[in-house]
């Protein structure tokens, strides 16, 4: 079943007509002409759609909260910040079928009553930014965006907001701060954005992939959608396969598919690259857990199993992988991207990075091993936002699995 990749390479992303020919914007038309906002939200709730940004929060419930919070102004933001190492699924949707995201965004904004929407895009995605600019312009030309959309009283404006290199701005409250012209530091929750978000108004932040599912749900109905995937996690998901597999890239598979299938099935990764022996798979980007061969057979779904699927990336490390470089890679990333708001993360990621540099140069000090444990505990338990916890996940697993190898 293909929902997200169906028309990739078939349609021309620079021509709205080629999207419309495949039935594009029919869902928006249906949502505006045949459905009330309540009905749209009801349908999304019934579909069981869960957020693809990593946390898997039920999308319909979130929309409902924003819709029911009384306010003159509301905002809808598509999160295309995507800066987790090893993840490029949202970038690829924007590249191959930008209108699918825009249509989902417009349906969402209509449902909650937002007049202003943003697409918050990773600052490095320059080409995708241009594609989206063109797509928005063409959608305005067809009256899908702007005043009296499709002849109705609905009026939604959509702007692109380009980031400037900050992983933390993918976190929704940090993202909102940066749109307001403040440092991209996370806010204390509650209040949650659907109640008080951008400029203090009810705001929905949804991942780009989440939104790309919405046109299908509106067109084909919640029931059809909810039968794809597994109970509790319906629909398909984009998985990114990188590392020592035969076929790297993006694959669409029903939720509930196992990493085993994704790595070895010829539909997806097609097995290990020739001459490579499996060591572990890291699931969910640099903040993902390290999964050994014996545990690959758990279904990748939300809230199930021992490990999260996160944003759906699988990085396969093989026995020739230089673990010291990999440890440095994780530490380097989180130390650079810690926003600095809270001490345990700011200092913890920095010290871990210093140790990682020593490990890489084979200059480990006696006290480093003990310190690593302290730092990892502190990151896992005391930081203000999840980034601090993320920084400790892969390292903790690596210490358990390869601590002896690394420290002798």
């Amino acid at each position: 079943m293909q929902i997200l990749t169906k028309n990739w390479n078939k349609i021309d992303p620079l021509r709205i007509d080629s999207y419309i020919k495949t039935g594009g914007y029919e869902s928006l038309r249906k949502a505006i002409r045949e459905m009330t906002p309540e009905k749209i939200i009801e349908e999304v709730k019934k579909s069981g759609l869960r957020g693809r940004g990593g946390a898997g929060f039920p999308t319909g419930d979130k929309w409902d909260l924003a819709a029911k919070t009384p306010a003159k102004e509301k905002y809808f933001i598509c999160n295309l910040d995507e800066s987790e190492p090893g993840v490029y699924k949202d970038r690829t949707i924007a590249e191959k079928n930008p209108h699918q995201i825009i249509e989902g965004l417009l349906i969402g904004a209509t449902a909650i009553g937002a007049k202003k929407a943003f697409i918050y895009i990773n600052g490095y995605y320059r080409k995708q930014n241009e594609i989206l600019e063109i797509a928005l312009e063409q959608a305005r030309g067809k009256e899908f965006i702007g005043r009296s959309m499709l002849g109705s009283a609905i009026d939604i404006e959509v702007d692109i907001f380009q980031g400037a290199g900050a992983y933390i701005c993918g976190e929704e409250t940090a993202l909102i701060n940066s749109v307001e012209g403040n440092r991209g530091e996370p806010r204390l929750k509650p209040p949650y954005p659907p109640v008080a978000g951008l400029f203090g108004k009810p705001t929905i932040v949804n991942n780009a992939e989440t939104l790309a599912n919405v046109p299908f749900i509106i067109k084909r109905g919640a029931k059809t959608y909810s039968q794809i995937g597994v109970s509790g996690s319906p629909g398909t998901k984009l998985f990114v396969l990188e590392g020592a597999v035969k076929k790297q890239g993006i694959f669409e598979a029903p939720l509930g598919t196992t990493a085993q299938e994704l790595i070895y099935n010829s539909l997806y990764g097609g097995g290990m690259a020739s001459g490579k022996d499996f060591l572990f798979a890291q699931i969910g980007g640099a903040s993902g857990r390290l999964v050994t061969a014996g545990k690959l057979d758990q279904p990748l779904a939300y809230g199930a199993g021992e490990y999260n699927l996160g944003c759906g990336s699988i990085f396969v490390a093989d026995k020739s992988t230089d673990l010291k470089n990999l440890l440095f890679s994780w530490a380097d990333f989180f130390h650079r991207e810690s926003c600095g708001k809270c001490v345990p993360c700011r200092e913890g990621t920095y010290r871990l990075w210093e140790i990682a540099k020593r490990i890489k140069k084979n200059e480990i000090l006696k006290r480093d091993k003990e310190n690593i444990e302290d730092i990892l505990w502190t990151l896992s338990n005391t930081t203000f936002c999840p980034l601090g916890n993320f920084a400790a996940i892969a390292w903790s697993d690596a210490m358990k699995m390869f601590g002896k190898e690394i420290f002798g």
Binding site: P85, G181, G243
Partner: protein
Amino acid sequence: MSLQKILVQIEPKPENLLRALKAAQKENKYIGEKECEKIADYFSLPLARIYSFASFFNEIRTKKETKKNIRICSGGPCLSKDSAKVARQIEMLLGLEAGNDAHPKYKLEYISCLGLCDRGPVVEVEGQIFERVKPEMVDDIIQSYL
């Protein structure tokens, strides 16, 4: 173009602040104190707020860069495509160490994943992105840019 001319094209609303900084940086290469002051005036915001905002982002420079800048992605997928060898080649060619700012003319830094993992290893030289870089390409890339 003068900073003033760039700014008048942008509506002074908070959600346009980052856009203004980026546009100013494109012209001026960095946002120093003088630029911050002008932007603060234009947006009617305190200078400290502009500076604190500008200094937050990896891609906004608040100091003049005198060295030639080379950056290499440190992400896992790029690593698995041999980015470490590429980094070593650059270090050897320029006689410096990544992350160490001691060289008078060049600076080699690690950079977070750019989302171009399928086209890695990714190297950025003076703002220009190079994909699928192999150690043997390093010479040409560096020479044509520096």
